[in-house]
């Protein structure tokens, strides 16, 4: 590509490739799509820290391409995620999905390299608009409805961000996207915007609602970008803001209960995604160098291992057409590669030593202990055991082991297996060689994950969680997988609010009817009265005989005569 210069903002190649993909087909399109993240990733390696392409428009200064250690880390991450996702979805013939995926990945890159809040807002909205097609492409009624709810939340987040950005400009006179904090009202608006996209409690439901309704390949992209852009934005705008510690701790704990009773395995992963983001949010809230490094490193690893788990479940959905734990089982017999890769992802998310999750989550845990946050630490330890329980054991167990419903679909397509393989290798590579990741982190790392204390403690937690699962399964206490809908906050706007509006409608209708009837009866009575007076038979309209008129004239004249004589 001739136009590829060093200071071309990283979203541009993706947007151009999306445009090209509209017209290209087959191998040509595959090559273009795969080449973009590879070349884009290579471009990043040659970049110097700084801001590129600054321009002024209508009195505002825009900085669409700001490179520092934080943004470039997410830049690398999103190129890797885009490459894996594109490889995984190479068999898809649906142009809409392919174009949407490229635009979506490009928007995520645009957002993390945005140096000002308006540029961030533009890509914030582009993330929403491009990603919704990955849900719509499933082409089911449930997906259509979920995508509308998804869009409502995403656009609300965008509106809050724009409002916050303008307030911020009003109070500080700059749009530069750096530390924002909660010193002004603008900070609260912007935090709310970031909070919606990072699935804070009570505004988390768009994620667990919409992600499992997307296409098998679409969910892989969705799990990589939106929430991690939000985590990046939190890390830049609100490091060390204390309330995030408590919000994050809540996020680590509450979703695991829902994950245990959820039957749709991709929804289980969606809940566990909130749990993992919780660890990052706690790290950002603490705000020390170790905590921020841990949060960012965990975001990096999460994109890869959560993507790997989503890919393995997508492969199962693609091959069997089913996603409920109650319908699946024993797929290891016919999908051995997918099983193996899923277990690598499961070990990584559970933070098994030698797998990627361990080297980043232990940083956040250590940072929590350094700050003497004992209760938060216990909550996160509980969540660590819980995540192993539902994502580490439940997902592989109910999909690939357990009871045998007799499905023998065969292994997933080659491109899917390859993409999962790359994800699995990365999980192991980062887990065994954490210095690779540590060198990319925003602050210098003085931390060793592999000391006997961390390893032994983590292994004890994990082995005894597994023992608890085994015991609960064998004794029949473990709740069976059931076809069901579990109520969450979405009940408020999917059932409660519509019901309230319906009831309100009934009451309003009753008063409305009564008022209308009253008015109509009064109106009719008035008409009747007027008719009585002015109608053909009314007093004023009746005919008068000539005789009576003569009589009245005579009386009038007689009266005049009488008056004359007085």
């Amino acid at each position: 590509m001739m136009i590829w210069t060093i200071d071309l903002p990283p979203f541009m190649p993706f947007y151009l490739a999306a445009l090209l993909s509209v017209f290209l087909r087959g191998w040509l399109r595959a090559i273009v799509m795969l080449a973009v993240p590879v070349l884009g990733g290579l471009q990043l390696t040659g970049l110097e820290i700084g801001e590129y392409n600054i321009f002024a428009l209508m009195g505002f200064e825009f900085s669409p391409f700001r490179v520092d250690r934080l943004s470039i880390l997410f830049g690398y991450l999103f190129h890797i995620a885009a490459f894996i996702g594109i490889l995984y979805s190479l068999h898809v013939r649906d142009t809409v999905q392919q174009v949407a995926a490229l635009l979506y990945a490009g928007s995520a890159l645009g957002a993390v390299f945005a140096g000002d809040l308006i540029t961030l807002f533009v890509f914030w909205e582009m993330l929403a608009v491009s990603s919704v097609f990955l849900i719509l492409a499933r082409n089911t009624e449930a997906a259509r409805r979920a995508s509308i709810r998804y869009l409502v939340f995403q656009v609300l987040s965008g509106v809050l961000l724009l409002g916050g950005a303008l307030l911020y400009f009003g109070s500080t006179g700059t749009l530069a996207f750096n530390y924002i904090g909660l010193d002004s009202p603008a900070g609260y608006f912007i935090l709310a915007a970031f909070g919606i996209k990072s699935a804070f409690p009570f505004v988390h439901n768009w994620l667990t609602d919409a992600y499992p309704e997307a296409t098998p390949t679409g969910t892989v992209f969705l799990s990589a970008f939106t929430t991690k852009v939000a985590v990046y934005a939190l890390a830049r705008g609100f490091p060390g803001v204390e309330v995030l510690v408590y919000i994050g701790a809540a996020m680590t704990c509450f979703p695991i209960f829902f994950a245990v009773i959820e039957n749709d395995l991709r929804r289980v992963l969606a809940y566990s995604m909130i749990n993992q983001i919780g660890f990052m949010v706690v790290g950002i809230g603490i705000g020390t160098e170790l905590a921020l490094n841990g949060a960012v490193a965990h975001a990096f690893n999460d994109v890869i291992f959560k993507g790997l788990l989503m890919m393995s479940m997508g492969a199962v959905l693609h091959m069997t057409g089913r996603m409920n734990g109650s319908d699946l089982g024993s797929l290891y017999k016919s999908m051995p590669w997918t099983t193996a890769f899923c277990m690598v992802g499961a070990a990584s998310i559970s933070a098994f030593p030698l797998f990627s999750g361990f080297v980043s989550k232990s940083m956040v845990m250590s940072a929590v202990l350094q700050e003497d946050l004992g209760l938060i630490w216990l909550m996160m330890l509980f969540a660590s055991a819980g995540v192993f329980h539902h994502a580490g054991i439940k997902i592989p167990y109910f999909a690939f082991f357990g009871h045998d419903p007799g499905y023998r679909p065969g292994e997933a397509p080659v491109n899917m297996v390859l993409a999962m393989g790359i994800g699995a290798v990365l999980c192991l590579f980062i887990g065994c060689y954490p210095v690779f990741l540590y060198d990319l982190l925003p602050f210098a790392v003085d931390y060793t994950a592999y000391d006997i204390t961390h390893v032994l403690a983590q292994l004890q937690i994990l082995f005894f969680s597994a023992a608890a699962f085994a015991w609960l399964q064998l004794s029949g206490i473990y709740p069976p997988e059931l076809h069901s809908t579990n109520l969450d906050v979405d009940w408020l706007y999917r059932r409660f609010a519509p019901n309230c509006i319906k009831r309100l409608g009934v009451v309003v209708k009753r008063y409305d009817d009564a008022f209308r009837n009253l008015f109509i009866s009064r109106f009719n009575r008035t008409l009747y009265f007027l008719e009585q007076q002015n109608g053909p038979h009314g007093v004023l309209a009746s005919g008068w005989p000539i005789g009576s008129m003569v009589l009245w004239v005579a009386i009038l004249l007689a009266t005049c005569l009488l008056l004359f004589f007085i």
Partner: protein
């Protein structure tokens, strides 16, 4: 795409003995890890960590509590699979 085979080869976990070996291995691993606690000196930063086998107990306890609470949650959160379908029209 989906086909059922009546007479396919035996897979590793079709044999219940292999399953029980996995479970036995798990429990042996648990025992070894607790014993290791006796010999390994850990540097602790929280008083609870000094308790013998704290992480082991907490991991087991956490999972059992998690499952029991989640089971109770089903009683008031679980609805029919098509719960939302009739109202969304």
């Amino acid at each position: 795409m989906v086909n059922m085979k009546k007479s396919e080869k035996k897979h590793i976990f079709d044999n219940p003995r292999n399953v029980s070996w996995v479970i036995r291995g798990l429990f042996i691993g648990c025992a070894l890890l607790v014993i290791a606690d006796l010999f390994v000196h850990r540097h602790v930063s929280h008083p609870l960590e000094e308790l013998f086998g704290f992480y082991a107990f907490y991991g087991f306890f956490a999972c059992v509590v998690l499952v029991l609470i989640a089971k109770e949650m089903r009683k008031f959160l679980m609805r029919d699979e098509n719960y939302y379908d009739d109202l969304d029209d």
